[in-house]
């Protein structure tokens, strides 16, 4: 793939677009330690620096195209679940940070999200990034940071959905 080709061209012209006419939601780059861009940034050219600026480093070059049915919170949970087995477990920020982030994300996905969860996720991700021993821990929270950057409303909606029935009762 020549650099400079837009992501839109890759997905729609070369890849043939999304099956069954569904809408595209995001394109995720670089595997479980990478990041994603939303549909609105699809005209970004394939370029190391430009994508890195958007929080989606190309990494090994993999591209994961996600359609409108996918929950971005669930995708993030999936990546962290994968990383919790990939971590060697030697240093505390990586081993425990991933464990706690995964727990919070699983709760949100299971409809047990709480107010303050997003802020806690952000705080944990800062610590794992700053204090981990190796690059796995330092970048483990990258998909989380990038989905929070572009799809924060999805996290909020998931938590809000949980909150509303109780509030109605009150």
């Amino acid at each position: 793939m020549p650099f400079g080709t837009t992501i839109r061209e890759i997905v729609y012209e070369i890849g043939g677009g999304i099956p069954k006419g569904k809408k595209l939601k995001a394109v995720h780059f670089g595997g479980p330690m990478g990041g994603c861009i939303p549909e609105s940034l699809l005209d970004t050219p394939l370029d190391f620096d430009k994508l890195a600026k958007l929080g989606a480093s190309i990494g090994a070059g993999s591209m994961l195209v996600l359609d409108e049915d996918i929950s971005m919170v669930d995708v993030t949970r999936y990546f962290l679940d994968f990383l919790s087995n990939e971590s060697c477990g030697k240093c505390v920020p990586c081993r425990e940070g991933i464990r706690q982030m995964l727990r919070i994300l699983t709760n949100i996905c299971d409809g047990k999200g709480k107010e303050g969860d997003i802020e806690l996720l952000e705080e944990i991700s800062e610590v794992t990034e700053a204090a981990s021993l190796c690059a796995l821990g330092k970048t483990a929270a990258d998909p989380l940071r990038s989905t929070l950057r572009y799809f924060r409303d999805e996290y909020e909606a998931n938590i809000e959905k949980v909150k509303s029935p109780e509030e109605k009762r009150e």
Partner: protein, 212 residues
């Protein structure tokens, strides 16, 4: 004359928390700080063992040629004119969260509780998962490096990592040693040993070990 062999480790001046301190080249930040009576918290460090850098609680800020970065004091070697900060908002935040992570596993560890008070860590911040082991590796490394027996080791990776006694080695070596017990910050190690002892040691093992 072999100059190289006779040359003493050269003395350098570094700065820790604004104080000028003499240190020898090749020392780690932690060693230099301890020599100058400056406290940096540690959990996985032991002077008889190789630096490990796993708990990350000794994280400090260093400034080299105008660039600040976070490094672990137990691993980072000092160099001429190095500027070190042992406390800052960033450092305290990291230490607080590391303690909160570990207190979810070992809420009763006195060592953790003392540090938690210093850094304002909330032991109930994360849901309890009382594995009682904080995986500092002191027992594993002591057995490997000092005793050279490897009777206790790490198994599994990531969130499933834990320590285990290897029954065959432990049965032969541990009953008359147990030197690692006092190193454990949570006393989980003793529980792990007793469990191995009751499940995997045969009666003969005890008798031969006690006769030694």
């Amino acid at each position: 004359m072999m100059m190289g062999k006779q040359k003493k480790m050269s003395e350098i001046i570094i700065q820790i928390d604004g104080k000028k301190i003499k240190a020898a080249e090749g020392m780690t930040i932690l060693e230099a700080a301890q020599k100058a009576d400056i406290f940096i918290p540690t959990l996985c460090h032991h002077e008889k063992l190789q630096p490990y850098g796993a708990c990350r609680i000794c994280t400090v800020e260093v400034e080299v040629r105008g660039w600040t970065s976070l490094v672990t004091a137990c691993l980072y070697p000092v160099e001429k004119d190095l500027v070190i900060k042992t406390r800052s908002k960033k450092i305290d935040k990291i230490r607080k969260m590391i303690l909160e992570f570990l207190l979810a596993h070992a809420p009763c560890s006195l060592q953790l509780q003392d540090l938690a008070q210093e850094y304002g860590a909330d032991q109930d911040r994360f849901e309890k998962e009382s594995s009682f082991c904080i995986l500092c590796g002191l027992c594993v490394r002591y057995c490997a490096e000092v005793k050279k027996k490897n009777a206790v080791g790490f198994v599994n990776c990531g969130a499933r990592r834990e320590i285990r006694f290897i029954p065959e080695i432990a049965a032969a070596e541990c009953i008359n040693c147990k030197e690692c017990f006092e190193l454990c910050p949570t006393s989980y190690l003793q529980a792990a040993f007793v469990l191995t002892e009751s499940l995997a040691f045969s009666r003969d093992t005890f008798q031969t070990a006690l006769k030694k």
